[in-house]
Amino acid sequence: MAMSRDEILRQVQTVLVDALGVDTDEVTADATLMTDLGAESIDFLDIVFRLEKTFGIKIAREELFPAENLISNSELVSNGKLTAKGLAELKTRMPHTDLAAFEGNPDINRLGDLFTVNAIVRFVENKLSKSG
């Protein structure tokens, strides 16, 4: 039986509350993990483990948070911003994120803003629909 988006959001909220020690009402759909909820890189690992357990899916860390590999590649970043190639790569690896606002100013320091609660909900939705 397919899970509704609301149910996925509710469970993702629980994961983020447990992993980041924030209150449920702070975990809105548009909240960014790093800026709004204070997540750090080690928290990303914790979040991946908890999502795997909650939804019964397997997630490689770079699947959900591929930005780390991208930033270190000199072909994809120039003067602190993603090149056209870098943007294309980002779109391929992160179809679950909303890149419209980011494309206007692809500053790598703003990559963290892509990781919203909604992005995680969409990622889980995609994973669940693929697995059956």
């Binding site: 992993a19 690992l45 914790d46 991946v48 483990f49 357990k53």
Partner: protein, 160 residues
């Protein structure tokens, strides 16, 4: 004083679960400051003991190829004090293990009474910092830690 907070392993299921014991003795220096007249093992050191138990379990699961370091304490709850003369058992279980990290759950008991529940996340340094230079020797898993495991082998070999 050596930075080793467990005395021996009594159970070890590679890649899955391990149980270590620690004896708390008045010979341990910190007890005189924590606290004068009321000696109890600090919770931070109980977490370190669990981190050593779980860290060795995780490291051994990958043949000590990775430097395993404690990265996050996901949860720790304490239910009672630990005092000189106590023997505590630390049970750690691997909940998840991935190339770059591992998650463990753990319980500390004293004569079957629950003392603490401690869940941890470890990061694997080599996978996370590829290309950085480290000293040759694996500075995390020193001979002291590894000897805890070989102690187990000796006892098992002696029985059979």
């Amino acid at each position: 004083m050596r930075w080793i907070w467990i005395d021996k392993f009594i159970e070890f299921e590679s890649g899955s679960r391990a149980v270590a014991v620690k004896n708390i003795t008045l010979a341990e220096e910190y007890l005189y400051d924590h606290f004068p007249g009321f000696a109890v093992m600090p919770e931070s050191l109980m977490i370190e003991a669990m981190a050593q138990t779980a860290g060795i379990l995780v490291g051994q699961a990958k043949g000590f190829q990775e430097k395993v370091i404690l990265a996050k304490i996901t949860r720790c709850t304490f239910f009672d004090y630990v005092t000189p003369g106590d023997t505590i058992q630390l049970e750690a279980k691997i909940e998840t293990i991935a190339p770059e990290a591992a998650g463990t759950s753990g319980r500390i008991t004293r004569c079957n009474k629950l003392i603490a529940e401690i869940d941890l996340i470890f990061s694997h340094l080599d996978k996370n910092l590829a290309g950085k230079q480290f000293p040759e020797e694996n500075f995390v898993f020193t001979e002291t830690f590894k000897s805890l495991l070989s102690g187990m082998d000796l006892r098992q070999n002696a029985k059979s």
